[in-house]
C-alpha cells in the first residue's frame, strides 16, 4: 500500500460553561485526492472532543454510519487515547463539514485506516492538555501525573481532579503539535480491542426513530419520484391535473433532469401530505416517456455478444508478463474454461430516501449518504446553488453496501424541495424504485486459460475479460486491476479485455470488482490445482511462495500475510486432517482487497438434487494490529459470509429493453436464516500493520471457497452465477 506521510493540527478553544473543545484535521496537502474536495487552505479547526464541567465527554462521530460500526469504533479511538470513562462518553454524529473533520465518506473500507492516526493524536493531545492543566494546578511536573477513567492523578501527593474540573483551564493552554504528541503504546489500550456497547444499540432494539427514513419536521410533505423505466429516459408529459386531484396530493410536476442518472434523472414528482397518498397516486399516473437509446439494451444481447467476442482477439491488453502462448503450448496440462457472473443490486434494506428544505436561498439536507461531501457538490451543481448555501446532516442508514456512495436520492429530494420553498420535503423510494434504479454491480464474462508444468507448478495464465465500457474505458466497477492476483506470481500472465457498451448504470457494491473476480480467479486456481493433481491448499501455498512483499505501491501484495491466513484457516478447518461425512466437501479461497487479507474455508454438502447446505465457514483475516471493536469485527465478517452466499445463489439483475426486470426481494433473493451456515468461525491475525477496514475484505473469498467446496462435494464446477441458473438451490 502506498503510504502518505500525514501531518495533523489541532486547535482548542474554551466555550461558555467551561468546555474544552479540541479540533483537529489533516493538512489539506496530505488529503487523499479523490472525492469532491478541492485542495485548498488547511482544514479549519473543529470539535472532536468536548468536555463539560460535569465530566461528560461528547465525542464526534465524523463518518456516516450504515451498520459497519464506525459510529462506535472511531469515538473509541479518541476515548482510549483520552483515557476517558466510556460510561461518561456521549457520541454525537457530525454534520457534514469536511473542512472541519477531514473526509467524511464511508466506502472502500477506508474509515478506519483514514482516521486511525488522526484520532489517536487528537485524543492524546486532549489528554496531554488535561494533564498539563492538572500539573499547573498542583504545581507539580506533568510527567508525575497519570490519567485513568476521566481523571488526572498525582500519586505522590494523592491528589486527583476530574476532566470536567480541568476542562476550562485546559482549554486556555497552548495546543500541542499533534505530530509531536505520542499516542499510547498499544499495550496500554483500555478500550480499543474491547467490545463496548455499540452506540445506538438500545435505540435500535426499542424502535427509536434514528434512521434517515424516520426523520420528520413540522409541516413536512412527502414525495415519490417516478423515473423512466429505461435508464436516462425522459418524461415528456403526464396526467398531472388528474394526479393533483387525488386525495392528499399537494403537488405534481415533471422534472426534466440533467441527463445524468447519478445526479438528476428525469421523472415525475408527486408530493402529498403523507407518503402513502403520494405513492398510491402512482397507480393513476400516466407518463409519456421518451425512452431514448438505452431501450435497445438487454442482458440476452450482452451474453450473445460476449460469446461472439470470445471468438475474436481481445480488444486491448491490461497486462502482459512473459510469453503466455508459448508457456501454454509447453504446459503439461492446460485448463480452458469460461466463467459468467451477473449484474446484481445492492438491495440495502432501507430504500433510498432523503429530506430537504429550501428556504431563503439556503438548502438544508438530511441524507443517508456514504459520500455526503460529493452529495453536496452534486446538489450544488444540479440546483445551481453555491455550495456554501447547502448544509448536510448525516443520518444513520439502514445499510449501504455501496448504494449510498451515489447521491441520486439526495439530488432528487433537493430538487423537489427547491420547487417548494419553505416546506420540508421527504423523498422516499419504494423497494421497486430502489431495485430498478440502482447502480448495479456489473456482470462480466471471463475466458480463462491456465497451464501447469509437469511438476504441478502454475506457469501460464491468460484471462480474456469481456466486460462493459467503451473502447478501453470500463464503466464503474467493471474493470480488472492489472495487479489482480495471480499477477506477479505467475511468470507468464496475460490479462486482456474487450468491452461491451452499456447504458445500464453501474457502481461499487461491497468489495467492488473483488466480489466477482475473487470467485472467478480462485475457482479457476482450484481447477488448476486439480489438473496439477495437487491439494488445493498446497497448490495455493506454492503459488504464494515464500513470505515476502511482491510488487510496489498500490500493487504491493504481502505473500507472507496471505500465507499466514491460509495456513491458519487450513489448520482451524482441519483441512486434510478430517474424514468428512459422505456428500460433504471442503473448499478454500483467499483474496486481498481493501488493504485486508482473508482466507476462508467452507464445508458444504450437495445432494443428488443439487441442494446445497453450507455447514460451516472458517474465516481468517489480517487487517492489521488492532481489531478496534471485536464484536463488531466478527459481525462484519459473518455478515460478509452471508452476503456472499446471497450473491452466489439467487441474485441477478437482468435487463430487457433497457429496463430492469427485477423489482423486489422475491426476484433478487437475500439469504434467509435457515439457509445460513449454523456456524461461521472467525479468527483475526494481528500483524504489525496499521489497522484497516473490515467491511469489504471478508466477502470475496467466500464465493470461491463455497464453489470449490461444491466441486469437492459433488464434482460439479460452478462457472455461472447465480448458481440457481445451474440448477442448484439451498437445501
Amino acid at each position: 500500500m502506498k503510504s502518505m506521510k500525514r501531518r495533523f493540527f489541532l486547535r482548542v478553544s474554551a466555550v461558555a460553561g467551561g468546555a474544552l473543545l479540541i479540533g483537529g484535521g489533516e493538512e489539506a496537502a496530505a488529503q487523499p485526492t479523490r472525492g469532491s474536495r478541492q485542495p485548498g487552505p488547511p482544514i479549519l479547526p473543529s470539535a472532536f472532543v468536548q468536555i463539560d464541567s460535569s465530566g461528560i465527554i461528547t465525542l464526534t462521530a465524523k463518518n456516516p454510519e450504515m451498520g459497519q460500526g464506525i459510529k462506535t469504533a472511531l469515538p473509541m479511538i479518541l476515548a482510549d487515547e483520552l483515557d476517558a470513562d466510556w460510561k461518561l462518553v456521549k457520541v454525537v454524529q457530525a454534520d457534514l463539514n469536511e473542512a472541519k473533520y477531514g473526509s467524511q465518506s464511508a466506502g472502500g473500507s477506508r474509515s478506519t485506516p483514514n482516521n486511525w492516526d488522526l484520532l489517536r493524536r487528537v485524543g492524546a493531545s486532549a489528554r496531554l492538555m488535561l494533564v498539563q492543566a492538572a500539573a499547573q494546578t498542583w504545581n507539580v511536573p506533568a510527567t508525575e501525573c497519570t490519567t485513568d477513567l476521566g481523571r488526572v492523578y498525582h500519586r505522590a501527593s494523592g491528589k486527583s481532579l476530574g476532566y470536567g474540573e480541568l476542562a476550562a483551564k485546559a482549554a486556555a493552554l497552548p495546543v500541542p503539535d499533534p505530530n509531536q504528541v505520542k499516542p499510547k503504546d498499544p499495550k496500554d489500550y483500555k478500550l480499543i480491542g474491547k467490545s463496548l456497547p455499540t452506540v445506538d444499540l438500545p435505540a435500535m432494539v426499542t424502535g427509536k426513530p434514528i434512521y434517515s427514513i424516520d426523520f420528520k419536521l413540522p409541516g413536512m410533505l412527502y414525495a415519490v419520484y417516478e423515473k423512466c423505466p429505461v435508464f436516462n429516459g425522459k418524461a415528456v408529459s403526464a396526467n398531472l391535473d388528474e394526479i393533483k386531484a387525488l386525495p392528499g396530493i399537494k403537488h405534481a410536476f415533471i422534472v426534466e433532469g440533467n441527463g445524468d442518472v447519478a445526479s438528476l434523472a428525469s421523472g415525475v414528482a408527486i408530493v402529498a401530505t403523507k407518503w402513502w397518498y403520494a405513492n398510491n397516486a402512482r397507480k393513476s399516473l400516466k407518463v409519456v416517456w421518451n425512452e431514448g437509446p438505452n431501450a435497445a439494451h438487454s442482458s440476452v444481447v450482452y451474453a450473445q455478444k460476449a460469446q461472439e467476442l470470445f471468438a475474436q482477439k481481445p480488444a486491448f491488453a491490461i497486462r502482459k508478463d512473459g510469453d503466455v502462448e508459448a508457456a501454454l503450448a509447453s504446459a503439461a496440462k492446460v485448463v480452458d474454461v469460461k466463467y459468467t457472473f451477473p449484474f446484481i443490486s445492492h438491495a440495502q434494506l432501507e430504500p433510498g430516501n432523503c429530506a430537504a428544505k429550501f428556504e431563503n436561498g439556503k438548502l438544508e439536507i438530511w441524507a443517508p449518504s456514504q459520500t455526503p461531501g460529493r452529495g453536496l457538490q452534486m446538489a450544488s451543481q444540479a440546483l445551481g446553488l453555491p455550495a456554501a448555501d447547502i448544509v448536510i446532516h448525516q443520518m444513520r442508514t439502514g445499510g449501504g453496501f455501496g448504494r449510498r456512495l451515489a447521491n441520486d436520492y439526495l439530488v432528487e429530494a433537493a430538487w423537489i424541495a427547491k420547487q417548494l420553498p419553505g416546506i420540508p420535503v421527504k423523498l422516499l423510494w419504494t423497494r421497486e424504485d430502489d431495485m430498478r434504479h440502482d447502480f448495479y454491480r456489473p456482470g462480466g464474462f471471463q475466458h480463462l486459460r491456465g497451464g501447469v508444468d509437469a511438476a504441478g507448478k502454475l506457469v501460464a495464465w491468460h484471462d480474456h475479460f469481456v466486460s462493459f465500457g467503451e473502447g478501453e474505458k470500463f464503466v464503474s466497477s467493471s474493470n480488472i486491476p492489472p495487479a489482480e492476483f495471480p499477477a506477479q506470481f505467475v511468470p507468464n500472465l496475460g490479462i486482456e479485455a474487450t468491452l461491451i457498451p452499456t447504458g445500464i448504470p453501474t457502481g461499487p457494491l461491497r468489495a467492488p470488482r473483488s466480489n466477482s473476480l475473487a470467485w472467478v480467479i480462485h475457482s479457476f486456481i482450484d481447477e488448476l490445482a486439480h489438473a496439477a493433481g495437487k491439494d488445493p491448499v498446497r497448490f495455493r501455498l506454492d503459488l504464494l511462495g515464500e513470505p515476502r512483499v511482491v510488487g510496489k505501491g498500490m500493487e504491493a501484495y504481502d505473500a507472507g500475510r496471505m500465507r499466514a491466513c491460509l495456513e491458519l484457516v487450513a489448520e482451524k478447518s482441519g483441512w486434510g486432517k478430517r474424514t468428512l461425512p459422505k456428500g460433504h466437501g471442503l473448499g478454500v479461497g483467499f483474496h486481498y482487497s481493501h488493504s485486508g487479507y482473508f482466507a476462508e474455508v467452507a464445508e458444504v454438502s450437495v445432494d443428488d438434487q443439487k441442494r446445497v447446505k453450507v455447514h460451516k465457514v472458517w474465516a481468517v483475516g489480517d487487517v492489521g494490529s488492532q481489531i478496534i471493536h471485536p464484536s463488531s469485527g466478527i459481525n462484519q465478517v459473518q455478515g460478509a459470509v452471508i452476503d456472499g452466499l446471497s450473491e452466489m445463489m439467487a441474485q441477478e439483475i437482468t435487463i430487457d429493453k433497457g429496463r430492469t426486470m427485477q423489482s423486489n426481494y422475491h426476484q433478487h433473493q437475500a439469504l434467509r436464516m435457515k439457509q445460513a451456515p449454523p456456524e461461521i468461525e472467525v479468527h483475526f491475525i494481528k500483524s504489525n500493520h496499521p489497522p484497516t477496514g473490515l467491511g469489504e475484505p471478508p466477502l470475496p473469498p467466500l464465493l470461491p471457497a463455497v464453489a470449490n467446496a461444491i466441486f469437492a462435494a459433488c464434482g460439479k464446477r460452478v462457472r455461472t452465477l447465480p448458481m440457481a441458473k445451474e440448477g442448484f438451490r439451498w437445501a
Binding site: I213, L349, G398, F401, V641, H666, A676
Partner: protein, 165 residues
Amino acid sequence: MEIRLNVNGKAVAVDVPPNMPLLWVLRDELDQCGTKFGCGAAQCGACTVHQDGAPIRSCVTPISSVAGKKVTTIEGLSPTGSHPLQLAWQEFDVPQCGYCQAGQIMTAAALLAKNPNPSDADIDSALDGNLCRCGTYLRIRQAVHRAAELMRTQSSNPLRTTAGK
C-alpha cells in the same frame, strides 16, 4: 373514514382511507416509526407487528382489517425497553445497520409467547420471513435462545401480558 384500534395499549382513532396499510398509519399518522418499510410486499419482514399477539406484515395489512384489534409494535413491546429479547439483543450485540431488527424482535416475541423453548429449527422457521440484509442471523438465533432462557428464569413473563392472547 374513522377507524378505531388499540396500538400499544392505547385506544386510537385514525381518519384514513380503509386501504391505507397499517405500516403507514403507524409511521405517518401515529408517529410510531420503529416499524420499518423495507419492501412493501411482505417479502422482508421489517414491518412486522403483532395483531392480537400474532405477527403480521403491516406493509400489506389494510388498516380496515385491524379495526377493533390490538396492535403491538416494537415501541410497545415493553414499557422500559427491557423485554428479554431486547436485553438479549444487546447482550449479543446483534445488529449491524439495525434496520430489520424491530421486525426480527417482534417475530421472535410472538414465537416465544407460544413456544418458550424453541429449537434452532423452530427459530429458523418462525423467522424465515424476516430478512437481515447485513447477515446477523447467527446472532439473532443466539439471542432468541438467550431471551427464551431469560424468560424461563423470570417469575413473570412480560410477553404473556403484552403480546399474549
